[in-house]
């Protein structure tokens, strides 16, 4: 069967998919072609709304009632899937094509035990006896490295963590030994450490089961880690396809180039870098430009781009691009126009910078937990924040990172006054702020503002944008009553939104625009300190870049101090002066941004860095994976809280027995850099850097 190996598992030719709407057919996907070889992983990347998922749904014909394939062929193992009956497709989906979706909780039935859900696949599709099916499922759970699989079979989905749920879903998908596995953003909802482990698993299963994988993601870093070949989709069509290293090192389409430029790289720091957002947004499929579809957003656009739609062509062997000027882009001859280059003034780091804006000592926030005993019993607490101390100087940004459940948000909410602190001193510009927000005076509220993660839920849907920004202006009397409108317009302009947004309602805005309104509202009162709780994690990469740049500009212009929560370590590196790494309610390492990213590391920081997906195939990352999830904050581990998962305990005598019994000391690396660990600094200095870039290869190529 040698020939059979050359036949791609999946071959998509000129696929076009339309949705029937009230306004006639809307072409969601046009002219998409690619093929996936046996045992390969193929990735499709692009912003949201580019038709990535539509392609995946088209393959298994899950398009819904109004969706239809209008053109092209989908050959699965050499057989055309287009035009097959539902019954045939159903069989195929069950037996040979499997899918894994973004949210594992939605793929699992919450009312059934996991064992029943898993074995159902085998009982229905293979007619296997229940006991045999269960044995097989336990075996499969072992293959996906699920701890204690027999026990997991008895549990309900809500009783296991998100990463474990995703493992169950992957196990379920693999039970029938599919030839093709379609994964639609399988790790987007997961923590970075869990994501790293799931990606490792995907790569392992790919070789073990010889399964072809179609991987859909918006995260360029993830794509670089899992796949061999990549297709970049934009507005329903594929604009570039090539091998991973070609895409990342020598992109030939301006959109791909734009995507690369708008992700902060781990090597970048705040003072030297500026992200290049892609202006505008993905056009609606109803309303495509007549020429090149990317022309309205392209920095290199020429006259021909407006008139003629380019077709996809091979620029180099195996490297396809849909651009009139692909060769020039490839050669790096085209440069973005000058007015798009950053216009950052030197930051003021004068004497004022040394002034402390916020000083927090021994902060504790506990939540009461109901006692497990009916009568009596000791009162229990969830120690969400436990003995945290830090300070922020004027005009600086503090980044707070950690896995979910580490108490990052609780800490910020405590400072802003939305949670009641249990203990500790909170001083904001010399004033005690351990009072809840409702009893704070107006001046304090004005000076301490917050930007929330989800822009949808922070804006009142029934008020216009202008009214929402004007409200803090009126309340805090920032400007005289008559000037409020002018000030709102000034803020809107600063957010690059323009006056015409004044009367719009939130539902008329995109996610990125809403977040900008949220920022405008937060800075309307000219606060001293703005707390940002994951302000960009819900946004597309290109929008994320624009919002980050905006925050930087606001800070430069107004000298605002910021605290910035993020789970993305590259964003934090780009954005912050000081970084605090939190684990289970405590800060384990705090220091200047550059110091955090180089040895000595706290072992937890090291593990987090090793898990970050980096959109550069040249980068070598050390392979450190944390086992399990963050332990319960109700009963945190004794001694060092990280000891249950610490990969570096072996550096200590007796395998780190001291970690279980004694709370570690704060070790001072420099005046500002502290590490909360038993391992002596000399040992930590000896650790290799987690991320190294193999620059040699580049010089070789160049």
């Amino acid at each position: 069967m040698r020939q059979a190996r050359d036949i791609p598992v999946l071959r998509v030719e000129n696929l076009a998919i339309s949705y029937e709407t009230r306004y006639g057919d809307v072409q969601a996907v046009r002219d998409v072609s690619f093929e996936i070889q046996r045992g390969d992983a193929y990735s499709i990347v692009g912003e949201s709304g580019c038709g990535k998922s539509t392609v995946a749904f088209g393959i298994v014909n899950f398009l819904g009632r109004n969706g239809k394939i209008v053109d092209g062929r989908i050959l699965f193992q050499g057989r055309d899937l287009v035009g097959r009956s539902q019954e045939e497709l159903r069989k195929l989906r069950g037996d040979r094509i499997a899918m894994v979706y973004q949210d594992p909780m939605q793929a699992l039935n919450p009312t059934l035990r996991l064992g029943d859900q898993l074995s159902e696949v085998l009982i229905v599709h293979r007619g296997m006896a229940r006991s045999e099916a269960e044995d097989r499922c336990v075996h499969m759970l072992e293959q996906v490295h699920m701890p204690d699989p027999a026990n997991v079979m008895q549990r309900y989905p809500h009783q296991i963590s998100g990463g474990q749920q995703q493992r169950v879903v992957i196990a379920m998908a693999l039970l029938n030994d599919p030839a093709l596995l379609i994964m639609d953003e399988p790790t987007t909802a997961l923590d970075v450490t869990v994501e790293a482990a799931v990606l490792d698993l995907v790569a392992e299963l790919q070789t073990k089961f010889d399964t072809a994988i179609m991987y859909i993601s918006h995260n360029l870093g993830v794509v670089a880690r899992v796949s061999d070949r990549v297709g970049v989709m934009y507005a329903g069509t594929m604009v570039e396809r090539a091998s991973v290293s070609d895409i990342y090192l020598h992109p030939s389409h301006p959109y791909t180039l734009g995507l690369m430029h708008c992700v902060p790289k781990l090597g970048m720091d705040k003072s030297s870098s500026y992200l290049y957002p892609i202006r505008g947004r993905v056009p609606s499929p109803k309303n495509l430009p007549p020429g090149c579809i990317f022309e309205p957003r392209c920095d290199f656009a020429r006259k021909i781009c407006q008139e003629e739609r380019p077709s996809i062509r091979e620029v180099e062997p195996g490297h396809w691009s849909r651009c009139h000027f692909a060769e020039q882009v490839l050669a790096g001859e085209l440069q973005p126009l000058a007015h798009l280059l950053p216009n950052l003034e030197a930051r003021e780091r004068s004497g004022e910078a040394s002034k402390l804006v916020l000083n927090v000592e021994g902060a504790r926030t506990y939540y009461d937990a109901p006692s497990t005993k009916l009568i009596g019993g000791e009162k229990q607490f969830v120690k969400a924040v436990d003995d945290v101390s830090f300070s922020i100087r004027k005009g600086q940004t503090l980044g707070i990172v950690g896995e979910s459940g580490c108490g990052k948000s609780t800490l910020v909410k405590t400072i802003i006054g939305l949670e009641k602190p249990t203990a500790g001193t909170f001083e904001f510009m010399g004033v005690d702020i351990s009072t809840p927000v409702s009893s704070r005076d107006l001046d304090l509220i004005k000076n301490l503002q917050m930007v929330f993660q989800n822009p949808d839920s922070t804006l009142n849907p029934s008020y216009s944008v202008g009214a929402q920004i004007a409200r803090p202006l009126r309340r805090f009397k920032t400007v005289p009553r008559n000037d409020v409108r002018d000030e709102v317009v000034r803020l809107l302009n600063m957010m690059r939104l323009g006056e015409n947004y004044y009367d719009r309602l939130p539902r008329q805005l995109s996610g990125g625009e809403k977040q900008r309104v949220g920022i405008a509202r937060a800075i309307a009162g000219r606060p001293e300190l703005v707390m940002c709780d994951e302000p960009v994690s819900a946004l597309d990469v290109s929008v994320q870049a624009a919002v980050l740049n905006l925050l930087l500009e606001v800070q430069n212009e107004m000298g605002t101090t910021m605290a910035f929560i993020a789970h993305d370590l590259s964003v934090v590196r780009f954005f912050c002066d000081t970084i605090a790494v939190m684990y289970l309610g405590q800060i384990v390492e705090i220091g200047p941004a550059e110091a955090i990213y180089a040895p000595p590391y706290h072992p937890y920081t090291e593990a987090l860095l090793s898990a970050v997906p980096i959109p550069d195939p040249r980068v070598e990352q050390k392979h450190i994976r944390l086992m399990g999830g963050v332990p319960s904050a109700l009963h945190p581990p004794s001694g060092c809280r990280f000891h249950t998962r610490c990969p570096r305990r072996s550096l200590l005598p007796d395998g780190g027995a001291i970690c279980e019994t004694t709370v570690p000391p704060w070790q001072q690396v420099t005046e500002e850099h502290r590490i909360f660990c038993h391992i002596p600094l000399e040992e930590l200095y000896k650790l290799e850097a987690v991320i190294t870039i193999d620059v040699e290869e580049e010089s070789h190529v160049g």
Partner: protein, 218 residues
């Protein structure tokens, strides 16, 4: 060297309702000679090979082209396939030589690999040939020596000892009863990175063993 490591996973498969015209087209287009026919859950139902698709003239009542087309259009794969009971299959945990033996004995060119009646792969003559070439390190340059020796226990070990005494490694090694020489054993040894002359000089020293063929491969 087990079947499960050398079989083709996720083979192309057909279903019993497929028309034979479609099946033939599918096999031709993808250059495959055997098509396992599966039902729900990839359970094996039968096997179609190029031969089974050769419709016997006796089944057609006339040679009228319309008659033939009509007849063919009505026939499905389940009409012509070799039924499950008659299909020779193999277990994924069987050894590769076992698979070869079954293929030789039953005179078949392909074995569906079954695990609980479910098709998990397919192993064909080509896979086994590919394995033979790999075993003999065909693609790696070196000196290939064929030696005849008495079919006595310990002879091959003497040869190996002589090679190891020189400090050379063995790239590949195989053996079988010598053809047309009863009582003799034929061994093939492949050595990498040593000049041909040195090998011949060293191996011709072994008493009772005879070099019958030496060649350099690349």
């Amino acid at each position: 060297m087990l079947v499960k490591d050398y079989m083709t996973r996720h083979p192309m498969m057909g279903d019993p309702g497929m028309s034979i015209v479609e099946a033939r087209h599918y096999m031709n287009e993808n250059h495959i000679r055997h098509l396992p026919i599966v039902g729900d859950g990839k359970r094996l139902i039968g096997l179609v090979s190029r031969q089974t698709l050769l419709v016997e003239p006796g089944r057609i009542s006339s040679l009228d082209i319309w008659e033939i087309a009509h007849h063919l259009s009505k026939m499905t794969v389940s009409d012509v396939m070799v039924r499950k009971e008659d299909v020779v299959t193999i277990d994924p945990d069987a050894t590769i030589e076992e698979a070869a033996r079954v293929m030789v004995e039953k005179k078949v060119g392909c074995l569906p690999v079954l695990e609980d009646e479910v098709v998990v792969g397919i192993i064909t003559e080509t896979d086994i040939m590919a394995q033979l070439t790999a075993m003999m390190a065909t693609r790696i340059p070196g000196v290939r020596v064929t030696i005849h020796m008495p079919e006595v226990r310990g002879e091959l070990a003497r040869l190996v000892a002589a090679i190891s005494a020189q400090g050379w490694g063995i790239l590949a090694c195989g053996g079988a009863p010598a053809p047309r020489e009863p009582g003799k054993w034929e061994a093939v040894i492949k050595i990498r990175g040593v000049p041909r002359g040195e090998i011949v000089a060293a191996l011709s020293q072994i008493k009772g063993q005879e070099i019958v063929d030496v060649r350099e491969t690349d």
